[in-house]
Amino acid sequence: GQQVMQIPQYQHVQEGEDFTTYCNSSTTLSNIQWYKQRPGGHPVFLIQLVKSGEVKKQKRLTFQFGEAKKNSSLHITATQTTDVGTYFCAGGGSWGKLQFGAGTQVVVTP
């Protein structure tokens, strides 16, 4: 079945630095979604990518969908303490069954 892997599992970042988290699927995806979960909170939908090679930006966050629609990345520039949390990718395959990755837990050091 479809599996979505996320790396790294943990990311320690100095405030002001950039980092990237990656999402890889064993199968071709119809779309990829990204969510952010703050500590103690619930996942919050950030964005969805649908087209091969698509790139979308939200302020300091850049999301990319691979050409083969099997991988995606989230790049954050100039990390801030507000970026702390766990970032999940979720791959859309067969009807509405989002397959979530295990997430990348981001810790920001001031």
Binding site: G41, P43, F45, F88, G96, K97, F100, A102, Q105
Partner: protein, 112 residues
């Protein structure tokens, strides 16, 4: 605007007791509804999803069940809780397939 309500926020239940978690959505009609479970520090596991009243699909066989008695109401139940049922339960909705899902605040269930 659409909102999703999930309660209770926290719950401590003894092993063998029943469970009922409720989720309601406002501001939309015929949403797709989901129940997810998240173990501590882990990803989200899809438990059930529903495309309409009375239509429930189960992803993981276990001692949990779900029902959708009304269009915007989704209920997660168990007749007898196990220790392994502890976790963070999240209800979510989406407008259609292949679009982002919006999560409720979640219920932290501890089975003791």
């Amino acid at each position: 605007s659409q909102t999703i309500h999930q309660w209770p926020a926290t719950l401590v239940q003894p092993v063998g007791s029943p469970l009922s978690l409720e989720c309601t959505v406002e501001g939309t009609s015929n949403p797709n509804l989901y129940w997810y479970r998240q173990a501590a520090g882990r990803g989200l596991q899809l438990l059930f999803y529903s495309v309409g009243i009375g239509q429930i699909s189960s992803e993981v066989p276990q001692n949990l069940s779900a029902s959708r008695p009304q269009d915007r109401q989704f209920i997660l139940s168990s007749k007898k809780l196990l220790l392994s049922d502890s976790g963070f339960y999240l209800c979510a909705w989406s407008l259609t397939r292949d679009v982002g899902a919006f999560f409720g605040q979640g219920t932290r269930l501890t089975v003791v």
